[in-house]
């Protein structure tokens, strides 16, 4: 935290000293700079969609992987292997292009926004596959004796799930889930390849404008430093929030293995 402020102060001072065009740098930043504001809002909106869907998929399939019946287990294993086995950028391109090909000539659907939505879902599914493995490991970490103890006092199966298994699983899995979320936030940048107007897209756009418009090419560095900074701030806020949740629910003897 201290290091971050120091770096920012130094960068600002360097701007005051005329090392780069400070006025241009400040004009780009939200909320004044239109492009980066749109980019920031889009990135946050993508997160708001991808995180809950990815988590729901991860939770559902992770749970299914620990099922006693073979069908949900096999289904979940197929899901995980499929979506883990491809680079997310390939998955996104695939989802986008396949949707467009299928809907070609269909005038009842707005093809491009629809294809973009499918790609967003594909990214969520990719993260969901990783989260499913985290959830599975978390559920398996709850000893069978805890469940037997629940049975021994007459708790129903659903009560054991919601009151014993899940609370213990969450405490064990939270650090790994936080890690995956941090990774997912930055993976939303891959959606810029199919035209999502997120921070990364805006960076490419601003750079192109600069280059084509014959501006000072050095300023490209300023653009990307600011974009990197905005991603950093988003990730920092999310991971700190998760750490706070972790701390709130910390119980002696149930900490996840500390790295």
């Amino acid at each position: 935290m201290f290091g971050t402020w120091t770096a920012l102060t130094l960068a600002y001072l360097a701007g005051l000293e005329g090392l780069y065009d400070l006025r241009y740098a400040l004009s780009l930043l939200p909320p004044g700079g239109r492009a980066l504001t749109t980019g920031l809002v889009t990135t946050l909106a993508l997160m708001a969609v991808v995180i809950p869907i990815g988590f729901s998929l991860g939770f559902t399939f992770g749970w299914a992987r620990t099922s006693h019946s073979w069908f949900p287990r096999a289904l979940a294993a197929t899901y995980v292997e499929f979506f883990r086995g491809m680079p997310p950028i390939v998955l996104i391109a695939f989802a986008f292009l396949i949707t467009i090909v299928i809907l070609r000539g269909n005038d009842r659907v707005d093809v491009f926004p629809f294809a973009t939505s499918v790609s967003v879902l594909a990214l969520a599914a990719h993260s969901g596959a990783y989260q499913a493995e985290i959830v599975r490991a978390g559920i398996l970490s709850v000893p069978a004796t805890q469940i037997e103890a629940g049975e021994s006092i007459g708790l129903s199966r659903s009560t054991i799930l919601t009151r014993i298994t899940l609370p213990q699983m969450f405490r064990v899995s939270l650090p790994a889930l936080g890690n995956e979320l941090a990774s997912l936030i930055k993976d939303t940048s891959l959606l810029s390849t199919i035209g999502a107007l997120d921070l990364t897209f805006q960076g490419k756009n601003l750079s192109a404008v600069l280059v084509v418009g014959g501006g000072n090419i050095d300023l490209v560095i300023v653009i990307w430093v600011e974009i990197a900074l905005l991603y950093f701030v988003i990730t920092f806020v999310v991971t700190r929030t998760l750490q706070a949740i972790e701390k709130m629910y910390r119980v002696p003897g149930l900490e996840a293995a500390q790295l």
Partner: protein
């Protein structure tokens, strides 16, 4: 109170219980002894249906409980269980461990459940540890909380599965004291244990099991001092030194 009739249990090819029968009268303490692998734990787990018997009947207070029409959850409210490794819920503190059954099984309101749980913790001498998590308690204290958790549901009987075997020697006494007090108060108990002093002093009946069958049964004096069967003599001789 508890009648076990000709119960058989297989785990795969392993014939763990080979026709076990026993009877525990209301207010009695039955101690089950025997070498490891003799089926004692499986027998206890059959009584509260943590393990479903393959053959035979379990009758509790006149009700045949291993009947498809009877919910196992209901049976387990009637018969409490205390485990060798305590098995307290690790994410709940002592009070919450005792409360959860009252809230979720007995459907009591929070205030009532808390009052009841504090009373049960006091009975096992742990009123001051209500806020402690299992990891912050000694083995003996954890086992006493586990006993309070079982008693809170006001069961008709309590099963103890080697309740002191996982304890450091200095904590065994406090757990046995709680169990002795419970027996004196007239709780119906089935206790699997290697604590022969406890068995001698507290048990109304002692049952010796080996290889999935009841070899011998009698009063503590009969089984410990005048065992009739050769296997009992050998076992009793070894553990009493």
């Amino acid at each position: 109170m508890i009648t076990v009739q000709n119960v058989h249990k297989w785990f795969g090819d392993l014939h763990v219980l080979k026709g076990v029968s026993l009877q525990v009268n209301k207010g009695d303490a039955l101690v089950v002894i025997g070498p490891s692998g003799s089926g004692k734990s499986t027998l206890l787990r059959c009584i509260n249906l943590l393990v479903q018997p393959d053959e035979g009947d379990i009758i509790i207070d006149g009700v045949k409980v291993n009947d498809p029409r009877i919910r196992p959850e209901w049976v387990r409210q009637q018969v409490g269980m205390v485990f060798q490794s305590f098995n307290l819920f690790t994410h709940l503190n002592a009070l919450e461990n005792v409360m959860i059954g009252l809230r979720k099984v007995k459907r009591m309101d929070r205030a009532g459940a808390e009052r009841m749980a504090r009373f049960e913790l006091e009975r096992v001498g742990l009123a001051d540890k209500a806020d402690a998590y299992p990891a912050q308690l000694s083995g003996g204290q954890q086992q006493r909380v586990a006993i309070a958790r079982a008693l809170a549901l006001n069961p008709k009987a309590v099963l103890f599965d080697e309740p002191t075997s996982a304890l450091d020697p200095e904590f065994i006494r406090e757990v046995l004291d709680v169990m002795t007090k419970l027996a004196e108060e007239g709780m119906t108990m089935v206790v699997v244990t290697h604590e022969m002093g406890f068995a001698h002093n507290v048990a109304d009946r002692v049952l010796f099991m080996a290889d999935g069958v009841v070899v011998e049964e009698g009063t503590p004096d009969e089984v410990f001092d005048r065992p009739q069967k050769e296997r009992t003599q050998a076992f009793v001789g070894k553990i009493l030194g």
